[in-house]
């Protein structure tokens, strides 16, 4: 968890914003919860649109 917390901040500096990276725990029996988490993540990412990594793709620089 500590590593992922640090990684999340690091990823933001590379242009991978908060929300695109999630750490959670789902037990083998919690299929409902798994379905909710992954659906929510999918919807969130769709709303955020494609990745805009600064420096890599010239036509897609930060606003």
């Amino acid at each position: 968890m500590r590593r992922f917390r640090m990684l999340e901040r690091l990823l933001a500096q590379f242009g991978i914003e908060r929300g695109r990276f999630v750490l959670d725990w789902v037990a083998a029996g919690e299929s409902d919860r798994f379905q909710k988490l992954t659906s929510a993540m999918g919807e969130r990412i769709r709303a955020m649109g494609p990745l805009r990594l600064p420096g890599y793709v010239e036509s897609e620089v930060l606003p």
Partner: protein, 323 residues
């Protein structure tokens, strides 16, 4: 006609510190010059590109090239030096892993131009001029090397025979490398000329590091009066020793400053920054997300701290090949 091995030194995107390392050989440079002919070293002596072009392919025995590759001219010189050399050495952190210049891979070319030519407080540029590869001024056609979108390692541009690490590699490293090359007793092609282990292996403070390292919170060097004999990590200060190649002689640690990682990752580590996230994260004692965030509050620039010299060699910050 001299039969001594011919050596070249060249610089691409770098600060000049690597050249300083050659100069710092001091009287040892006489031993080097006695054993080899320096036939191309534009930083220190009056050589021109055409001197290099006039040489036969493979005429140079060894070329030490420092600096990362950002511009079209640097690409051209790297390619030319490759063709003229039997052995090409990526010399120093920038050539080997991108170094400080590659931190610019966290931003983009257009942002760099905006900052450098428009928004910097010391810039007066009312016409909004930016450098372009070709322009015409008063009927004269002017050309500038193109500024590429990303900073790359030398090995991303041409085939490299050996790498040497460090910002800069020490004069001892250089003297050792020249001796090794002259002896002909070389490691396999592609190897890093230097020890394989991490800096901790030779660090005098290593005995003060407990087996179960526990870091309550990250502290910066300005937050704490550093103890001269104690492992920096046990004092909560980020030291990249565990994920950095040995070979520097630990001058920073000797000067009571933690390792910032300029020798790049040791053997077996692919991504120095990711390895450090794993190492520090594993040693922290915070047990909730909130406690972790406050323990990390003083780590203001994780990417710049963990990838200070290896951005161009990292998984996320290297050049996207199709870009």
């Amino acid at each position: 006609m001299s039969t001594k091995p011919k050596i070249a030194f060249y610089w691409c995107a770098s600060c000049g510190g690597c050249e300083e390392s050659v100069v710092d050989l001091a009287e040892k440079v006489l031993d080097v010059v006695a054993a080899v002919d320096i036939v191309f070293w534009p930083c220190a002596l009056d050589f021109k590109t055409r001197d290099l072009e006039a040489m036969a392919d493979g005429e140079l025995d060894v070329a030490f090239v420092n600096g990362a590759v950002r511009t079209a001219e640097q690409e051209h010189m790297a390619t030319l030096l490759r063709r003229k050399s039997k052995c090409l050495i990526a010399f120093g952190a920038c050539a080997a892993h991108g170094g400080i210049p590659a931190l610019a891979n966290l931003t983009s070319r257009s942002w760099i131009f905006r900052a450098s030519y428009h928004e910097s407080p010391t810039v007066a540029n009312p016409r909004g001029t930016e450098p372009v590869p070709e322009s015409t001024v008063d009927g004269h056609r002017l050309r500038l090397p193109e500024f590429r979108a990303t900073v790359r390692r030398l090995a991303d541009v041409v085939e490299v025979d050996y790498s040497m690490c460090g910002c800069p590699p020490t004069s001892d490293n250089l003297a050792q490398a020249v001796t090794t090359i002259l002896s002909g007793n070389l490691p396999p092609r592609g190897a890093v000329l230097g020890p394989a282990k991490a800096l901790c292996a030779s660090c005098k403070r290593n005995t003060s590091k407990p087996d179960d390292l526990a870091i309550p919170s990250i502290r910066r060097v300005v937050d704490v009066e550093l103890k001269p004999d104690t492992c920096f990590l046990t004092q909560g200060v980020v030291c990249l020793g565990p994920v950095t190649r040995d070979g520097c002689g630990a001058p920073c640690v000797e000067g009571n400053m933690p390792c910032t990682g300029c020798y790049g990752p040791p053997e077996g580590v692919r991504d120095q920054g990711a390895k450090m996230v794993a190492a520090i994260g594993g040693a922290m004692t915070a047990d909730t997300a909130e406690a972790t965030d406050s323990a990390l509050a003083r780590l203001e620039d994780p990417a710049g701290t963990f990838y200070r010299y290896t951005m161009a060699a990292s998984l996320l910050g290297s050049a996207r090949k199709e870009a």
